[in-house]
Amino acid sequence: MNDYDRDEMMTVAAARMLWDGCVTFVGIGLPSAACNLARLTHAPGLVLIYESGTIGTRPTVLPLSIGDGELAETAACVVPLPDIFSDYLQAGRVDVGFLGAAQIDRFGNLNSTVIGPYAKPKTRLPGAGGATEIAAHARQVFVVMKASPRSFVAVLDFQTSGGHFEGRGKSGARGGGPTVVVTDVGILKPQPGGELALVAVYPGIPIEEARAAVGWPLAVAPQIETIAAPTRNELAALRALKARTEAAHREPVRLPI
């Protein structure tokens, strides 16, 4: 069973961390794939909330955007976006929020705003969106990012969303912050004090590769777990989901004329 790629390994690793009944705040891309994989395998009662306002969606294919029509059609209900942020996220009803970013630092703080100075950026990124308050208020945050020294940096260019920053406890943030960072070379978790350390690797990926992919001297937990490779069942479900998605998105859309 070695016929999987690193994206698949990451997706499966993230999906396994979700439990049945867990309320997740889902972003597009790998988090959406991981959540729907979990829902289609071990966690059928997973509650998916997309920030567009859909609660309890059960899409048969992965959405391209966070507001695809299928999310509304398969939702338990569709509520105004302001309600999602006030009455669900801020109110502490989200168990797990997923985040990615352009940069992460050793405390799990994230940058999705700019590379370079804010007033005159080298690269203008999309910005916060829901991330700032997901980072503050979801009970746990799962960060999913491919590791490289350019993205796992010693100093962020801009802090969009807070991880285990100093003073978090008194900041008014209701959630616990990042509890895990899933990368393509292994899994990091915050240690007492909040600094991330490597706690697990994937089959065939040496610890040294993980350390080389991180732009600061990465702490390594005393015991390193090796994550089990994706099972046949997991891979089959994930690939079928992706195949359905590609087929659906290939269907031509007619101009409304």
């Binding site: 507001g67 976006l81 006030s86 801020q90 990124l125 503050a136 409304p256």
Partner: protein, 283 residues
């Protein structure tokens, strides 16, 4: 009384240069036709407001229509960057763009305050972020009961909000179905609300607990079928994900962008003409 106007007249009459304008709709029901009409009529110095600028604001910004942007996430959803927005911020092309940058939760609170005609919105937000360092609009207030400090945003009250919806009746009641994002709040927050609709019917069925903007909240209705494309209208037509992908190529290059806009938007007289010009390309 709600006015019924062709879109070109609605824009000509109600959206002057320099206006603050919110075109809302979260992925769904984005009022593309109205945005194109702003470009056709050569609007300048607009203060554009929108949670997720999307392609329509990329186009407005790239055509130099905007002076300022209030937003919380500026990307091509599921695809990547908005190249025209980036070019304006990074290179001031075709002109500089002031940013009033928020988080989604902050903008939602601003629209809600605007809809209620309160001067500010309160949220437990902007925690652990550098945004307040760069946006003086983000302030705080102390809870008179607990002493906690909470973030505030100024109310958003656009001069004009433009929405797209499935249906209106002849009195000006507007019915929306599906994902609504902050459409309701942005619509009620506006000094004037313009709605483009797929269809005008004699009478809407009672909405009971559905989403309806009563005619007393709607300033202008314009009949504009297909007016959300390449966004979508639940129950009518699907999101053209493929166009969102293709836009990445079109918008990446200043020349190619300008040519596309001149040909399909400025070179057509209305939304039907726009869609027809694209059909010819596809054929």
């Amino acid at each position: 009384m709600t006015e019924f106007l062709p879109l070109s007249e609605a824009i000509a009459k109600h959206v002057p240069d320099g206006a603050s304008v919110a075109l809302e709709g979260f992925t769904h029901l984005i009022p593309f036709a109205a945005g194109h009409e702003l470009i056709r009529q050569g609007r300048r110095d607009l203060h554009l407001i929108r949670m997720t600028p999307d392609l329509i604001y990329d186009q407005l910004i790239g055509m130099g229509a905007a002076r300022r942007l209030t937003f919380s996430w500026g990307g091509n959803p599921g695809v990547g960057s908005l190249h025209r927005l980036r070019d304006a911020v990074e290179q001031a092309w075709p002109r500089p763009l002031e940013l009033d940058e928020h988080s989604h939760a902050g903008m939602a609170a601003g629209y809600r305050a605007g809809a209620a005609r309160l001067p500010f919105g309160v949220l437990r937000g902007y925690i652990g972020t550098d945004l307040p360092k760069h946006n003086p609009n983000i302030k705080s207030v102390r809870c008179p009961y607990t002493g906690e400090e909470l973030a505030t945003v100024p109310a958003l009250n656009p001069d004009v909000t433009i929405l797209h919806a499935q249906r209106a009746d002849r009195r000006g009641n507007v019915a929306i179905e599906g994902i609504i994002g902050a459409q309701r709040e942005a619509g009620l927050a506006a000094k004037l609300l313009i709605v483009t609709v797929e269809e005008i019917v004699d009478e809407l069925p009672p909405a009971m607990n559905g989403v309806l903007l009563p005619h007393c909240t709607v300033g202008v209705v314009s009949h504009c079928p297909g007016g959300a494309w390449p966004s979508y209208a639940q129950g009518r037509y699907a999101r053209d994900n493929d166009f969102y992908l293709r836009w990445d190529d079109i918008a990446r290059d200043r020349g190619r962008f300008t040519e596309w806009m001149e040909r399909h938007v400025r070179g057509t007289s209305d939304h039907r003409g726009f869609l027809e010009s694209l059909r010819r390309v596809a054929a």
